[in-house]
């Protein structure tokens, strides 16, 4: 059976919200989680942000008017949730002097065995938040700059510059390391 498109799922949500939401969750749980994970790095934080994102989707999908793509709307919620989580993370980090940075590096045990992926993950972690996100949307999600600009609520020009810097830094990191 052919999976329903986003538009069909949104229409279905009006009549059968439970069924449509389950389908949306199945389809987008992984992309949303990895998006959050790239911003937050820590699994626990990404997990919280993903859950909060879908709770918001459930509560607000009936108000989604379709002015933008569904994925843009969904990723924007996830992006905002991640930023909220990031603020909490930074606050906790500042409050706790003995913040264990090794916790972040311990995640490297979860990395793919292939060295390139491990290095890529490290390189991504070292990027500033905006560059990391642009790289994520462009490289992993294959989104157009226009759509990324809508998600991050910023200009396309700025995003392209950020992407350029991100690629350059990753290249350097991979070559040097």
């Amino acid at each position: 059976m052919k999976p329903l498109s986003d538009k069909e799922l949104i229409v279905a949500f009006r009549n059968q919200p439970e069924v449509a939401f389950s389908a949306i969750l199945k389809k987008y749980k992984e992309p949303v989680y990895f998006q959050c994970r790239r911003i937050l790095v820590l699994h626990e934080d990404a997990d919280d942000a993903t859950q909060n994102t879908f709770v918001k989707v459930w509560r607000n999908l009936e108000n989604f008017k379709g002015d933008s793509k569904f994925t843009t709307w969904l990723y924007r919620i996830a992006y905002n949730e991640s930023l909220t989580q990031l603020k909490k993370q930074k606050k906790t980090q500042l409050e706790s002097d003995d913040f264990d940075k090794s916790k972040m590096h311990n995640d490297s045990s979860n990395l793919d065995a292939e060295t390139i992926n491990a290095l890529l993950a490290e390189a991504l972690e070292s990027l500033p938040e905006k560059q990391r996100m642009v790289f994520h949307y462009r490289y992993f999600e294959d989104l157009a700059f226009k759509q990324i600009a809508e998600i991050m609520e910023t200009s396309e020009g700025g995003l392209k510059a950020n992407y350029h810097h991100a690629v350059k830094k990753i290249k350097e990191k991979l070559q040097i390391d």
């Binding site: 939401f21 790239r38 459930w58 979860n110 990395l111």
Partner: protein
């Protein structure tokens, strides 16, 4: 995600299944949807109305049961003199007050009767008149006065 790319972050094998269950428990099973919102609004509105009615009823009750507040009761005896009794008694009931006022009115009428009578009446006539209006008349026993000099 672009086909061919590998996700650098790895998670447990059943992580996404568990995540799905958690989210479903927080959303579909919890059902915090608009229908529920309407229901909660209705319940809150109904509760407010009930509270208002209860408050109004209890306010009326407390007004009825409240002991009479300190008030100044002015009982006019005649035009020249007034008795101002700043509170006869704090807990005087409205029945008592009516009685007092009625009594005062009677006295006023009797006073008026007395005033209407000519001043130059005899002692006997005065005595009779006083008995008539119910005022106590007492004969002074001169023996009782003894040696008191007036």
């Amino acid at each position: 995600m672009k086909p061919g790319y590998k996700e650098p972050y790895k998670v447990g094998e059943k992580y996404f299944d568990n995540l799905e269950e958690i989210i479903i428990a927080k959303t579909i099973k919890n059902k915090p949807k608009s229908n529920n919102r309407v229901m909660w609004f209705s319940l809150a509105a109904a509760a407010s109305v009930i509270m208002c009615i209860w408050f109004a009823v209890s306010l009326n009750k407390s007004e009825d049961n409240k002991p009479m507040e300190q008030t100044t009761v002015i009982v006019k005896i005649d035009d020249k003199s007034t008795i101002e009794s700043s509170v006869l008694v704090e807990s005087i009931s409205s029945d008592d007050l009516t009685e007092v006022l009625a009594e005062a009115e009677t006295i006023k009428v009797e006073e008026a009767v007395l005033i209407e009578k000519p001043v130059d009446i005899t002692d006997q006539e005065m005595e009779l008149l006083m008995e008539e209006v119910g005022l106590v008349y007492m004969d002074l026993d001169e023996d009782l006065l003894g040696e008191i000099e007036i």
